[in-house]
Symmetry: C2
Subunit: 311 residues, 2 copies
């Protein structure tokens, strides 16, 4: 892994993704006493940064591999990202989803012509179903967060942000499976001389925070967080990057996440999902620490059921 | 009124407003079979196009008039716009509001340091209270929609849109008090050789539609529309402009407004208020008419209570 890999990744996926806008709000800057810019991956194709990693992973396959299709297990944004990226590249996408996944998520995958394979709602059943597709179809398995091509692809959001705002002192991103924060940390390391990367994580699923302390990958016993995109844990591909390049992880409470989400909705008039309110909540909680800094926040996605909001 | 007046207006208010972005959605274009661009006045300062007219009205006052302050009666976006524009210009703003106005609206005005004068919730009481301020303080009365400076100021949104997209065949805007559609129609008339202007209006408050048929200003008997910004009628300053320059008005049902609003929220990940879903609903309802046209829609504002949504 070096800077050249990230540059190649960015060039490879450019035709398949949006260069998303960077927005700011004078009211939010006044509220914080600092300058914050938001990289709006909620405006990315299919509504989340996951399009970057999924596109890169499929584009990195050989022609022969592409012909056999790709498979993933996800009920969230990665399922949509793989379906859409595969559709654009003429590749068949098999999406393993728990049978009790919300209809709205199944419909989103179908919109992008992904083929849904239903399974029981356990990690074991998901893996077994994905393995079966791998064996039967010869499809390549794509992991939502713990795969190098996915991590590099995700890192391109921070590359674009640093190209536009080279003076950033810090970039914050949410920590779920670790694929976004790892890619962001690599980008900051190679494309800035001073920009640090800080993760935001819900207190309720603070596995990454604990992993950085213990030095090994920790898991969560429960998943009671409104930040539905972050109910997962780190992996062996992204954890070493996080250990090496992420400054620290700030934990926030559930009500702080919901408040932060509402502030962004009301002040910026943009729709973000709860997961991407987490790093903004971390800044709100630690105003002094970020005062007079140039702060960038990656708003990771905007796929939320507008009929079922947490506020 | 001529093109020069509009150019001067635009230059006058530029330092006090945002040049708002113009967004589009490939999914919405596919859905419609046409190219639609959205002028995002929901991202305007205080969250609505009203900032343009209010700024121009205050900037057009003499120094002496400014020292005596301004007064308006509004419980909506114009109250916030006058408060913020006045604050930025060091002018005192008196805002007459019905005593039963929602607390969230009162709070918004207070944020921008407008002084609220409460009155009974009747048109007569509002006017009496505003007149009292005019007499006692010598304040200049600003009308939300039926005042030349407000109309010209509102027209600058369409000027910016046409500068960026000179090939537009049609611009649609919502019709409430008539100040936005009249300004938009003037801008299209002077800044394009071919662009027509069409209004969108809720069937439930179709006074403007009926006014264009009868040739005189009609009113509404009831105001049962979700589009709370459009519960008003035309005035003698804007109606002649609308009669002369607006191609037609398309009426839409309440469920069509709510559906259109939800599509924009979900597909574009931006927050718009119900009123500005009305012209988009008009396009959705008349797909054939707009097919293969270059369509612009003015998204008038994004001030909505996110805890009380119509879907």
């Amino acid at each position: 892994m070096n800077k050249q890999t990230l540059i190649e990744t960015h060039n490879r996926i450019k035709p398949f993704i949006h260069k998303t806008p960077v927005l700011s709000s004078s009211l939010i800057n006044e509220m914080l006493g600092t300058e914050v810019v938001f990289k709006c991956e909620n405006f990315q194709k299919m509504g989340a940064f996951k399009m970057r990693g999924a596109s890169n992973a499929i584009l990195s396959l050989s022609e022969e591999e592409r012909q056999r299709g790709v498979v993933t297990h996800s009920s969230g944004n990665f399922a949509q990202a793989v379906s859409l990226a595969a559709k654009k590249l003429g590749v068949k996408a098999y999406i393993v989803m728990p049978e009790n996944a919300p209809q709205v998520k199944k419909d989103a995958v179908k919109t992008y012509e992904g083929e849904i394979i239903e399974c029981e709602s356990t990690p074991q059943a998901r893996e077994a179903a994905a393995n079966k597709i791998k064996e039967e179809k010869g499809a390549s398995f794509l992991h939502p967060s713990n795969q190098d091509e996915v991590i590099y692809g995700n890192g391109t959001a921070a590359i674009e942000l640093l190209e536009e705002y080279p003076e950033l002192d810090v970039i914050l991103a949410p920590v779920g499976g670790g694929g976004l924060i790892a890619g962001t940390a690599l980008a900051a390391n190679y494309f800035s001389t001073k920009c640090k990367v800080i993760g935001g994580e819900p207190m309720e699923v603070d596995d990454a925070y604990r992993s950085l302390i213990s030095g090994k990958i920790e898991t969560n016993d429960s998943f009671h967080t409104v930040a539905d995109g972050l109910r997962t844990h780190l992996g062996d591909r992204n954890f070493p990057i996080i250990k090496k390049h992420v400054e620290k992880i700030i934990r926030v409470e559930e009500d702080e996440i919901v408040d932060a989400m509402q502030i962004i909705w009301e002040r910026m008039k943009i729709i973000i999902e709860p997961s991407c309110a987490v790093p903004f909540a971390a800044v709100l909680k630690n105003k002094e620490e970020f005062k007079n800094k140039n702060v960038g926040i990656i708003l990771s996605g905007g796929n939320v059921d507008v009929k079922n909001l947490p506020f």
